[in-house]
Each structure stands twice: as structure tokens, then as C-alpha cells.
């Protein structure tokens, strides 16, 4: 254990910082907002492409996929440097972090070439179709059916909460291919182009605004999907799903840490002097320390639940406290566009109310806080199911 930074990681960080200094988009051109996680403004596509070409997009990947085979501490430094400049590498974070990453792990060479690389180069965007009206926390109970026929599958069913689906070119969709098999076994992963016949998307507003369109209902009626769109083998969907989320989860804590840091800085600017501020500073420090620890030895993946729970709930209390501290002023809700507007140079300027409301994304999406507590109790503390 030591406080000193690893010189190798710092060298890597310095290289990336120099790259960013030379290539960061101008503030003026970056003004244009994203309408959703998949509605990518032209400058942002260019930006993602610039990162890809210089092998600075996903540093953990090999060069042909926009990286440099870097280890986890380097990947962390990469995200930290981006965050320090308040810019993201992509407006399609799920496409990049989950869908392209799973294709690179589970896909064939052909699939990598056809979908992963275009997603990485910001030529197409992808959305994640996991949840269904009857399958939320209990994801394995999903019902969307895919029936195999001669050269592929015929899909029928409905997805919901599919972030960015209305602008996406392709959906990574989890479907039931074997209704007889035990719940977790009969699931497969299919890539479904949104332009395919029988795919209907209905975007709807989020809690922040009626026209804050990110959520979608996706209706799939007799959609024909070629066999080449199956990721992994038939029945391996659960493994792909866990792998897909695993890609995202390892460094997920960092986004909570950054959001918390922003909140605390903004709250301090607004004159917060209350004791909650000290507690949340402690949360932030502990989150970073536990995050670094996670990068150390091989740890139980269930420990990521500790980070997710601690991080998402700290962000939530920070925004609630800050909102309360502002009293009636907290009611104000200046209109902004798009959920990803904070991924710009400009300060995160949503209202306190909106920040609090949006904090529930962290405690609900990707496994709710209750589910994280179940995982900690059962997998780390050994309590019976």
C-alpha cells in the first residue's frame, strides 16, 4: 500500500493529457447538444473518431479497436483525464462500453468488423435491449421470443427503457430461444438492426422533461434476424449479458465519484457549510480508495456492488442535501437539452431539482440498490438466499 503514483501510469496519463491538449474540440464547436445518448452531434462523432484513430478511445483494447492494450489503472487514468476536462469520449456510452466491448469479447471476426468497429468509429450507434415490462430486476424472466428457422430467427416481444433506441442503428437484444430450459439457460443475444421490418420504437420523456427523450419502448413483431447476428452460441445469452455489464461495471464507480465531486464543488460554491458536506467528502474519498483497491489484486466481482451502492447513494444524498440547502430557490428548473449535456466543457448546470431527480438513474439502472444489497449479503457475507 502506498500513496505515491505509479510512474508508468503517470507516464501514460501525461501522454494522454498531451494528446488532449492538442486535440480537444473547441468550446464553441462543442456547444451543440446531444438530444439523447445516441443522437450524436457532428463534432462529437469527429471527436470519437479522432480518439479511435489515435488509439485513445478504449485504451484497454488492442490498436485495431482503438486502444493500446493498457491495464486497468491506465484505463482509469484515461477516464479521469477526460472527466477533468468535462468531456466524454462518446455520446453513445452503452454502445461503446457495453455493446462494442461485448462484441469484442464474444463476437466473431466478421461481427467485430461489421458492428464493433463502426460503433467505435462513431459511424453507427447502438442501444441495449435487456429490460422488458415484465423483466426488470428479474432480468432472466425476459419473454421476448426468438424462434429459429432456416437461416436465422423470428423475433416477437417488447423491450422497454431502451436508452437511445430511437436514434440507434442497432440493438443488442436479449431474447428467449428456449422456453423449456431453466430461466437463465434459454436466453440468447441477438443484434437487431433498428431498420429491420417489424421494429417499432416509441421514445418517451424522462422525469426531467417531456421532451427529454432517452427512454424507448421497442416493439418487435415478426422481426427476421439472420443467423450471423447471433452473439455467442444459442443459449449463451446470460453469459454475454453478464460479460457485457461486467465491462461497464469495473470502472462504473468512477462516474459516481466524478458526479459527487462536481456536486460537492458546486454545493461549496453555493455556500454549503453543513455537516453533510463533510460526510459526503468522506464518501467520495472512501469511494476512490475502494475503487483503487478494486484495481489491485483480483477481487470478488461482487465487491463492485459495494462501490455501486456507496457511489450511487452518495450522489443521491449529495443532490438532496444541496437541493434542501437551496430552499425555495431549488424549485427553479431552467430548461436544458438532453441528458448528456454535462459531457461538455461547460459546467454541469442543471437545476438542483433536476440533479436530485436524475440521481435515481444511479440507484435504479444497472441493478437497483436493493439488488446490490442482496448481492453483498449473499455473495460477500454468505447469507442464505
Amino acid at each position: 500500500m502506498k500513496l505515491a503514483d505509479d510512474p508508468e501510469v503517470e507516464e501514460f496519463r501525461a501522454q494522454f493529457a498531451a494528446f488532449l491538449d492538442a486535440h480537444l474540440p473547441e468550446e464553441a464547436e462543442a456547444r451543440e447538444r446531444a438530444g439523447s445518448s445516441a443522437h450524436v452531434p457532428a463534432w462529437a462523432r469527429r471527436w470519437q473518431r479522432t480518439l479511435f484513430d489515435a488509439c485513445w478511445l478504449l485504451p484497454g483494447q488492442p490498436p485495431e479497436y482503438g486502444g493500446r492494450n493498457a491495464g486497468l489503472p491506465q484505463q482509469l487514468a484515461h477516464l479521469e483525464e477526460l472527466a477533468r476536462r468535462r468531456i466524454y469520449h462518446s455520446f453513445n456510452p452503452q454502445g461503446l462500453g457495453i455493446i462494442a466491448a461485448s462484441l469484442l469479447t464474444f463476437g466473431t471476426e466478421e461481427q467485430k468488423r461489421r458492428w464493433a468497429v463502426p460503433i467505435l468509429r462513431a459511424e453507427i450507434t447502438a442501444a441495449l435491449g435487456m429490460s422488458e415490462p415484465e423483466a426488470g430486476s428479474d432480468l432472466a424472466s425476459l419473454r421476448t421470443r426468438a424462434v429459429a428457422d432456416r437461416d436465422g430467427f423470428v423475433v416477437n416481444g417488447q423491450k422497454i427503457w431502451t436508452s437511445g433506441a430511437h436514434d440507434a442503428d442497432v440493438l443488442l437484444t436479449f431474447v428467449r430461444t428456449d422456453p423449456e430450459a431453466p430461466k437463465h439457460r434459454g436466453i440468447s443475444a441477438l443484434l437487431i438492426p433498428t431498420g429491420a421490418e417489424g421494429v417499432v420504437r416509441r421514445p418517451f420523456g424522462s422525469i426531467a422533461a417531456e421532451d427529454d427523450l432517452d427512454f424507448n419502448e421497442v416493439f418487435l413483431t415478426d422481426v427476421r434476424v439472420p443467423r450471423g447476428n447471433l452473439i455467442g452460441n444459442v443459449g449463451e445469452g446470460w453469459r454475454v449479458a453478464n460479460g457485457s455489464l461486467g465491462h461497464e461495471r469495473t470502472l462504473l464507480w468512477l462516474s459516481y465519484a466524478e458526479r459527487l465531486e462536481d456536486l460537492l464543488r458546486d454545493a461549496a460554491d453555493a455556500g454549503a457549510g453543513q455537516e453533510w458536506y463533510a460526510t459526503l467528502r468522506m464518501d467520495l474519498t472512501a469511494l476512490r480508495l475502494l475503487g483503487y483497491r478494486q484495481l489491485g489484486l483480483d477481487r470478488d466481482p461482487a465487491e463492485i456492488s459495494v462501490l455501486k451502492l456507496l457511489g450511487s447513494e452518495a450522489v443521491q444524498s449529495a443532490s438532496l442535501h444541496a437541493l434542501e440547502a437551496h430552499g425555495a430557490e431549488g424549485l427553479e428548473h431552467p430548461k436544458r437539452t438532453g441528458p448528456y449535456h454535462h459531457m461538455h466543457h461547460e459546467h454541469f448546470i442543471s437545476s438542483w431539482f433536476e440533479r436530485y431527480a436524475r440521481s435515481f438513474a444511479g440507484t435504479i439502472a444497472g441493478g437497483t440498490s436493493e439488488i446490490q444489497r442482496n448481492i453483498i449479503a449473499e455473495r460477500i457475507l454468505g447469507l442464505p438466499r
Binding site: T285, L289, G296, Q372, I376
Partner: protein
Amino acid sequence: MEFELDEEQQLLRRTVRETVAKVRSRPAGQQWDTYLRLGWLEAPPLELALILEELGYAADPTPFLATATWFAPLTGRLPEGSGTAVFDGVGRYVLDADRADEVALLTHRGVIVVRGTELAAERVPVLDPHLHAAHVGAEDLAAKVPDLALVGLAATCVGACRRVLDLVLDHVKQRVQFGRPLGSFQAVKHKAADMHVAIERARALTHFSALTIAEDDPRRADAAHMAKAAAGECQRLVFRHGLQLSGAMGFTWENELQYHLKRAQACDLLLGTASVHRKALLA
């Protein structure tokens, strides 16, 4: 930074746990001798925190904590401190008070050690010509609490809390009600998970604080407040859920739980509760 215990540190932790378990039934004096012989008193800050966590886990009865952290100055250099405990009182006829390098003060928050130069001490004439005594005017003395003392208490508290959680886990795995082990009920699981997260949070801040002392990092003052405050917050949650989940059994004298609950609570009350240290962080 690297925030994972290295192999030696993990080994130390195991050794301490095994040693303490072995000597536990012996008289306190013998336990103490064992600790001294093993050189634990001279351990550097992070290792000391690991030892104290284990001693806290075992509700150790020896004077190790105070000796190793509050009185460390008597055996070496007075650590630069940040936390403050206000000593309000006047010491009368304190032997050697005006010429001592360091003075141990009994305050309402516990015993702390300060540099002699920080006291307004005035020698007083006494009948015995060879006796050197002074009155100590320390009305508003803000005595420096060594950072190490805060970390020592925090580490002890974390150990005690972990023990409470482990006892509770054993209990809820075994105890059957409504035909199921208590631990299979979610209301129980979620409390256990929250205790675990609070302990991990406090432990991380404790280790961080010990590291900042070891490396004399500029963040050390803040880190010590954070560690002590987090341990106090953790203790609160663990006390409440830990006692509650043990049912009436936890309310008895016979049950071991009481020692650990009380050790944890004591660690919060000594040298400033969580709230005191949160405020210090804001200052």
C-alpha cells in the same frame, strides 16, 4: 496510488489475529508482554492500524491502544497533530510541569500528551527543596491530539464493528423463525449489507489516514478527521442494526456482543465524536 494490503501486511494481520486468539484467555499482563515481545508497539502507522483493528476485533483488555498512539510521544517524537481537544482546567502542583518536554493531560475526552512549551506553567515554591512543582494554567489550551490517536481509535472501532457484524452474521444464519433462517429475510440482509459497506468505508479511510501519517502527506490532518468521523458513523449504524438483529439475546450481559458494541461506542465518544470531526473537516 496502490490501495491494497501487500502480502506482508496481510500476513501481519493474520498473525495478529492468531496471536490474540491464543493469548486471549491469559491474564492481561501476559498478553501485554506478548505484544511487547513481538514489537507491535514500534509498528509504523499502517501496520499499527492493522494491529489495532485486530485488537479492536478481540476487545483487547491491554493498554496497547493508548500506549501505542496517545503516549507514543513519550517513547519518541511527539507527532504533529491536527485534531484538537480542549483541556479546560487548571493543574495545581504538577510535578516538573514547567520543565517537562511533554506533559500528559487528563481531559474530559481522555488522556492526551502535549509539548511542555504549549502549557503556561509557573513554578511554585514547595516545602521539599528537591521537589520541582508548577501550576499549570491551561484554561483555554487547545491541546493537539496526535493524528495517530485518531487513527488508533478509528482502527479499533472498525475492528469492533467488524466483530459485531460477524457475530450477527453467525446468529442470523443459524437462528430459524417462520421456518427459515433469519438471514434469508431481506430486511435482515439489507441491514447486514449496509453494515458491511459502512465498515469498508471506515476501514478505507483509516488505512488512508495511517498512510498519510506514515508518509507525512499534506492531507494527513483531513484524513485523520475523516477516519475518526467515518468510524463514528459506522459505529452508530453497526450498534443499532447489530443489537437489533440479535433480538433479546443482544440485550443480555452474558452475550459477547456487548463488549464489542461498547468498545465501538467508546471509540466514537473518545477524542471527539463523528460530529465533532465532521465539523473539524469543514473548518
